[in-house]
Symmetry: C2
C-alpha cells in the first residue's frame, strides 16, 4: 500500500468507525434527556481523525481477527473515551477553548454543567461498549474482561487522567525532556497504546505479539505528540482548527524544548523503534507499518 | 437482630468497607501525582453512611456468599462511584456546595480543575475494582462481567447521570409526582439497586432472587430519598452537615409535593413493598429486612 492507498484506507475505516459510533451514541440517546444527549452527540460525532479506533481495528485484523464489524464496535469505545477527555480539556476551568477541529467546543454550545455530565456519562458507556463488543470477538467473554481492563487503565489515574494533570501543572513552566515524555506517555500514549493492545487481545494472539504491539503503540504515541507540536509551530491555527494553541497556553512543547529540527528527528527515531517492534513478531502488519510513517508525515 | 444490634452491625460493616476503600485509594495514589491523589482521598474517605457498599456486602452474604473480604472490595467500587457523583454535584456549575457531611467539599479545598479530574478518575478505577474483585467471588470471572455491567449501567446515562440531569432541570420548577419518582429512581435508585444486584450476582444465586433483590432495591431507594426530604424539612442544616439544602436550591421535594405526613406514609409504603419482595424468595434475609426499616427511621 502506498500513501494514496493509505488515504483511501483511512477514509473507509473512518466511515466504518463513524457508523459504529453513531449506533453507540443512538443507544445512549435512548436512555437520556434530549439536551444532554445532544451534547454527547456533538462531542463524539464532530469529526476527528479517529486514529485510536483505526489503530484498534487495524491491529485486530492484522493479528488475524475475522469479525470485522464487531471490531468497529470495540474500536468505537476508544473514541468515546477520547471524546470525553477532549470535552474535559476544553472546559473553562481547564484550557478554556472555544474551537476544536474548527467547530465550537461542546461547552460553548451546551454550557459547562451539561458538558461535564455528558463527558462523565461517556466513561461507563465506553466501558459497556467495549465489554459487550469484545465478547463477540476471538477473545470470547473471558478475554473481554482483559480487553476492558486495558481501556479502564488507559482512561484512569495511571493513564489519561494523570497525564492531563501533569499537563495542567506544566502550564507556564518549562518541563525537562524526561518530564515532557512522561506527560505525553500518559496523556496521549496510554490510550493509543491501549488501542493496539485491545485490538491484539481481542484477536486472541500470544503474549509476545501483544507486548510488541504495546511497544509499537508507545513509540507511535510519542511520535504523534511530537508531530502535533511541530504542526502547532509551523501551521496556522485556522488550518488546525484549534484555539487556543498549546503555545498560547504557555505549555512545554517538543519544539520549544529541542528546536524544530531536533523535534522532527526525535519523531523519526520513535518511528524506527515502532517499526522494529513490528519486525520482532511473526505477524505481517503492512498497514500498521505504513500508519506509523503517516503519523509523522501528516499535515494536520 | 434489633436496632441496637443493627447499629453495631452498621458500625462493623463501615469499618470493613473503609478498609477496602482505603486500599483502593492507596492503589490509585500510587499511580498519581500527590495533589490529585489527595483530592480523591478527600472525596472518598471523608465519612458517609456507606449505605451502598453495606447493602452490597449484606446482600452477598445473605445470598450465601462465603468470601466476605473480597466482597468488601467489590462493595468499595459502589462507594467510589457514589463519591464521584457527590464531587460532581457539589461543583460551582452544579449545586455550588461548600459543605458536605459537615466538612468542606472537595472543590472548596482542592479547586475545580483538580476535583473534576479526580472525580473522572474514580469512574474507571471503580469499574476496575469491581472487575478484579468480583472474579474472586462465587460468580467467577465470567459472572464478573455481568457484575461490572450492572455498575456501569447504574453509573451511566440510564442511571445516575440521567437522574442528576433531571435534578438540575427541576430546580426552580415544580415536578409532578411521576417526574419526581423518575428523577429519584435514576439519581439515587439506580446505584442503590445495583448494590443489591451486584451482591446477589456475585454470590451466583438464581435469576428470581436477583430480580427480587432489584425490586427490594428500587423500593428502598425511593424510601431513602423520601426520608432525606423529610429530614431536610425537619432537622437543622447543622445536624445534617449539608449546605445548601435542597429547599435552598428550590428543588422539588416529596415533602413540598405531598406534605410531611403523606411523604412519611409514602416512604412506609415503599418499605412494605421492599419487605414483600424479600418474602417472595426462598433465601432468609433478616439483615436486609431490618435495614429496610432503618432507612426510613434513621435520624440523619
Amino acid at each position: 500500500m502506498d500513501y494514496i492507498g493509505l488515504k483511501e484506507y483511512l477514509r473507509a475505516e473512518r466511515l466504518c468507525v463513524d457508523k459504529a459510533l453513531d449506533q453507540a451514541v443512538t443507544l445512549i440517546e435512548s436512555e437520556l434527556e434530549p439536551d444532554i444527549a445532544s451534547a454527547i452527540r456533538h462531542g463524539v460525532m464532530s469529526g476527528g481523525k479517529r486514529l485510536r479506533p483505526i489503530l484498534c481495528s487495524t491491529a485486530y485484523r492484522e493479528c488475524g481477527g475475522q469479525a470485522e464489524n464487531n471490531a468497529y464496535d470495540l474500536a468505537a469505545s476508544l473514541e468515546m473515551i477520547h471524546a470525553y477527555s477532549l470535552m474535559h480539556d476544553d472546559l473553562p476551568c481547564m484550557d478554556d477553548a472555544e474551537l476544536r477541529r474548527g467547530q465550537p467546543t461542546t461547552h460553548s454550545v451546551f454550557g459547562e454543567d451539561v458538558t461535564m455530565r455528558a463527558a462523565a456519562a461517556l466513561i461507563p458507556a465506553a466501558a459497556r461498549q467495549a465489554l459487550s463488543s469484545a465478547r463477540n470477538l476471538e477473545c470470547g467473554a473471558l478475554g473481554a474482561t482483559e480487553v476492558v481492563q486495558e481501556l479502564l487503565e488507559a482512561a484512569g489515574a495511571g493513564g489519561m487522567v494523570g497525564g492531563q494533570w501533569l499537563d495542567l501543572l506544566g502550564e507556564g513552566q518549562t518541563l525537562n525532556p524526561k518530564e515532557l515524555d512522561e506527560l505525553h506517555r500518559k496523556k496521549t500514549g496510554a490510550l493509543l497504546t491501549a488501542s493496539l493492545v485491545m485490538g491484539a487481545l481481542s484477536a486472541a494472539v500470544d503474549k509476545e505479539t501483544v507486548s510488541a504491539l504495546a511497544s509499537y503503540g508507545r513509540s507511535v504515541g510519542l511520535a504523534f505528540q511530537i508531530t502535533d507540536d511541530v504542526l502547532d509551530a509551523t501551521q496556522s491555527a485556522d488550518l488546525l482548527g484549534k484555539n487556543p494553541s498549546d503555545v498560547d497556553l504557555d505549555k512545554s512543547t517538543y519544539v520549544g524544548l529541542h528546536g524544530l529540527d531536533q523535534a522532527k528527528e526525535h519523531a523519526r527515531e520513535r518511528i524506527v523503534e515502532a517499526l522494529s517492534a513490528l519486525e520482532s513478531i511473526p505477524i505481517d502488519a503492512p498497514i500498521l507499518s505504513i500508519l506509523a510513517r503517516y503519523v509523522v508525515e501528516r499535515e494536520r
